[in-house]
């Protein structure tokens, strides 16, 4: 308790960055190779998302770059290896590194995945799937409680892209995620490309999934590109590759969600075969245009009601 109070006071007195609201904005993954182009363009409308683990070194150019970005823009801190869906306890040292980053950079959003990546002493560097049942639900909720307790703020939990199913699953993914949000009070990061990838791979309708998803809890959206492979039967198997532009079908689903929910901070994820900054930036501008249309509709609705 004492430690908690001390942390809060320290954070309040050591505020190093201006508050940068993220509401209604589109953003992009932050890649170091884009830093010169971003700095040259000056402060711009939009946010940047970073993978937390890339900034867990003690010092050096990564922190210098992130400080430069954070001064002028809201950032979203996206953890990729907390192993919230793992069947062992959370890594306390890793959780503490995560807490320090949240305190240091005061991100507008903090998110993690419904997945696991560490088992016993091995780290697999992939977002691995878990069965959905009462036992795993309880453990995932315990893990999210613990993270939220340590960082002192709600987490956004991201839905995974999946390629297979577990025999021991007893719940649908949307029921599982709704129960997590209900029990832990966490927000949700809706990755619409993941929905599309999983729907194709698992043979369900992406529209049905979204209709069943607790959209009221969504605090951020991810859009990304995917790649095509074949499954054992030669049918289409989509890979969540983040290595190209967002697919048309994913843009359509995004427009449907935004029309229903209003503008939600939306990230263009592009992590591999990274394009020049103007290409990534224009992909974000396309998302921003859809968000801005929804903002106008929202304002007109409010004006009409007033």
């Amino acid at each position: 308790m004492n430690a908690m109070t001390t942390t809060t006071v320290a954070a309040a007195t050591s505020l190093r960055f201006p508050a940068r609201p993220i509401e209604g904005l589109a953003g992009t993954s932050f890649k170091h190779e884009h830093l010169p182009a971003i700095v040259a363009a000056g402060p711009q409308r939009g946010f940047f998302e970073v993978h937390a683990e890339n900034y867990m070194g003690a010092g050096g150019p990564p922190h210098q770059a992130l400080e430069a970005i954070r001064r002028d823009h809201p950032i979203s801190l996206h953890g990729v290896c907390m192993s919230i869906g793992g069947d062992g306890p959370l890594d306390k040292a890793h959780l503490d590194r995560f807490r320090k980053l949240v305190a240091r950079y005061e991100p507008a959003l903090v998110s993690e995945h419904l997945a696991w990546s560490t088992h016993e002493t091995s780290y697999f560097n992939d977002l691995l799937p878990l069965p959905y049942n009462a036992a795993t639900l309880g453990r995932v909720c315990d893990h999210i409680y613990e993270v939220q307790q340590v960082i002192g703020r709600p987490l956004l939990l991201e839905n995974p892209s999946t390629y297979l199913a577990f025999r021991e699953s007893t719940m649908s993914e949307t029921d599982f995620i709704r129960a997590i949000a209900g029990r832990t009070g966490c927000s949700l990061l809706l990755d619409i490309n993941n929905v599309f990838v999983s729907a194709t791979n698992q043979g369900f309708s992406a529209r049905d999934y979204l209709a069943d998803f607790p959209l009221a809890q969504v605090g951020e959206i991810h859009l990304a590109g995917h790649a095509e492979q074949a499954d054992d039967e030669g049918a289409l198997l989509l890979i969540d590759s983040h290595d190209g532009p967002v697919a048309d079908a994913v843009w359509k689903l995004f427009a449907i969600v935004i029309a229903e929910c209003g503008p939600i901070p939306t990230l263009i994820e592009w992590d591999s075969r990274i394009p020049d900054w103007p290409i990534l930036s224009s992909e974000a501008a396309a998302a921003q245009a859809i968000l801005d249309r929804a903002s106008v509709v929202l304002r007109e609705g409010r004006d009409a009601a007033a």
């Binding site: 050096g60 069947d87 054992d232």
Partner: protein, 259 residues
């Protein structure tokens, strides 16, 4: 405390992830009765390829020297034998230089493991804590009669790699875009790796320099470290040694050993 009832899905799922000989675990299935082999392989492929990519990012000069196919085959063996123990990938691959030294197909390149050691030290320096390096003024303020007793505090980024091969020359020739030239690999070289500000620097130390700096880093006084350096290399020049280490930003402070 009661033992927690642990579901074994992670153990089952992980069991075949880095072993291509094993079938997909029985706990997973494809949708609507479909096969699961290629679906499970997506994860298996992500794990192996992303970890090979991580090693390629840490060891670009090694990859440039060996060529991409050789490197990825060598890295694949290492990834499967030694997966990361930490989620921080910039910490991965500490055992890779030793693996290269044992790797049968790399025997024709006996200097390759030492080039990898320099690259590993380079990345450690890159991520090290930011600290102001020791200034020449701070050292020149020490009264001459006390100079031999000065003890130096190593800058967090400072690393030394000693090699019986031309490791600095080979490293430098393979980290840039410059065209490759023929290098005599047989001249012993010691590397000093520092990062006083934002840029990592790799320097070749003069004879005796590595003994001198290693002694100082280990906490020997200036007098003792200099004596050891003269013993190792009679040509060792102490004033050049001190000027070089200050210019490189190898240390961050001094005291007189009473700490």
């Amino acid at each position: 405390m009661l033992p927690l009832e642990r579901s074994s899905y992670a153990a089952s799922f992980a069991s075949a992830l880095i072993d291509p000989e094993r079938e997909a675990p029985a706990i997973v299935k494809g949708p609507a009765g479909k096969g699961v082999a290629r679906r499970y392989n997506v994860y298996r492929n992500n794990v192996t390829v992303s970890l090979i990519d991580a090693l390629a990012a840490i060891y670009p000069a090694v990859q440039r020297i060996t060529g991409v196919d050789f490197f990825r085959a060598m890295a694949r063996f290492h990834v499967r034998a030694t997966p990361p123990a930490s989620p921080l990938l910039f910490d991965y691959g500490r055992d890779f230089p030793a693996f290269i030294a044992r790797y049968e197909h790399a025997r024709a390149m006996p200097w390759l493991a030492d080039v990898a050691r320099v690259e590993r030290a380079w990345l450690d320096a890159y991520h090290a804590e930011d600290t102001m390096p020791l200034s020449a003024e701070a050292l020149s303020a020490v009264p001459p009669e006390r100079l031999a007793d000065v003890v130096f505090i190593a800058h967090p980024a400072t690393r030394i790699v000693s090699s019986p091969f031309s490791v600095v020359t080979i490293f430098a020739a393979n980290r840039g875009e410059a065209a490759q030239t023929r290098i005599d690999a047989s001249a012993p070289e010691d590397a000093l790796i520092t990062r006083p500000d934002l840029d990592v620097a790799v320097r070749r130390l003069p004879p005796g320099g590595a003994v001198f700096l290693s002694g100082l880093i280990a906490g020997q006084s200036l007098g003792d470290a200099a004596a050891a350096a003269f013993l190792a290399a009679p040509s060792f020049d102490i004033s050049l040694g001190i000027a070089g280490m200050i210019e490189a930003g190898a240390f961050s402070g001094i005291h007189f050993g009473e700490a």
